[in-house]
């Protein structure tokens, strides 16, 4: 049955692209929040199977704040998170040529923009599958 995804990203053009990819797959219902505050509110009011999260938003790398906040919230700790970020080119000058370092973002998966549609769908499906498996026998 359709899986419900939430996407928190401030770039409407990018969101439109991702949404069209996921809609084309036909088994995902995608809600969108364009800033961290609306994103967290959406997470409190509805249950989602997967979160697509951007990093550079609002005041700065707020995606990191959200990812950490999820991990502390008992209800949302299990939620699988796929970070999709363009941080490398956005502030590339800061750490030229260095990888994005997910260590402090206990997240399930990280993908860098631009995103290749097939890879995206694969990652989304696998993440949901593993999360379901974890729920069945934690």
């Amino acid at each position: 049955m359709t899986k419900r995804l939430l996407m928190i990203d401030d770039d409407p053009d990018f969101v439109a692209g991702i949404k069209s990819i996921l809609d084309s797959a036909g088994e995902f219902e995608v809600d969108v929040a364009y800033n961290p505050k609306d994103g967290l509110k959406a997470l409190q009011t509805r249950e989602y199977d997967l979160l697509l999260l951007d990093i550079m938003m609002g005041r700065g790398a707020e995606g990191v704040m959200i990812a950490r906040k999820l991990r502390k919230d008992p209800k949302l700790r299990e939620m699988p998170v796929l970070i999709i970020t363009g941080m490398r080119e956005q502030i590339a000058f800061l750490f030229p040529g260095e990888p994005i370092h997910p260590r402090f973002v206990e997240v399930d998966e990280l993908v860098e923009k631009p995103v290749e549609p097939k890879l995206l769908l694969e990652k989304v499906k696998s993440l949901i599958k593993t999360a379901e498996a974890r729920k069945v026998n934690p």
Binding site: M56, R59, G60, A61, E62, V64, M65, R68, K69, I91, L94
Partner: protein, 298 residues
Amino acid sequence: MKEYAYYPGCSLEKMAVSYHLSAVETTGKLGIKLKELEDWSCCGATAYSGIDELLSHTLSARNLAIAEKTGLDFVAPCSACYKNMYFTAVHMRKDADLAEHINFALEEDNLHFSGNVTVRHLIEVYVNEVGLEEIKSKVTRPLEGVRVAPYYGCQIMRPRKDHEDVEQPQFFEELLAAIGAMPINYPLKMRCCGGSLIISSRTAALSMVRNLLQSAVDGQADVIATTCPMCQVNLECYQQQVNQEFGTNFSVPVLYFTQLIGLAFGITPKKLGMGKEFVALAPSLLAAGKANPAHSKP
């Protein structure tokens, strides 16, 4: 012997070393010990908020956390540092998520900032903490007849709106009067000196500096007193460029208010870092007599 967690800021290392010297000297005379913050780092000035505001808050929070360890009030001589520190503290007290996230980052340097640090600008220490009476009592050579333009700059009062007079404060004038000087009516005293625009948009900043100098000269000021190293550099070191750009010939000395206080306390100019100015103070003013005011016809 009241102590303060003293945060000099990057420019007081070299560019504005005389501000540092005169601050230490004059506070020493007033029974105040400026204990320099151990291993402090840059506050991010204005550049950071244009890249990542969380990082800007983190830089300030690191210094605030170090100050919190000492348990002393935080003192910043530079207005830009003062504003960054003050508002990082305000935001972290108000927004729990922000505080939690930044403290998570500070853990790497085993630091923590819980918010109970009072952030003061250096001039507040003189005016509010020490008080004008105490300063007046320490004055040995009042700057008789020296006409001083009290230049507040912009970030010392703003964007705070909780002072009782944001637009026309008087405490700088009162401080100058306390040391015997003659504060002039300086209408542009709250206007900006251009700050980092001196680099990113030269002509704009040079014209702002020109207006400030013009207004000081119109008020027949012998010297402009500043409270921030960036304003001092813009007003003094770029007088040459202003003269070339607009065909004026300003040569107005620009000193830190602590240097003027030092002179009034009779401290030897050398110890106040005098002699590093581009526009030398008229020797007579050094002897606090009023010889030839530094006038100029535009």
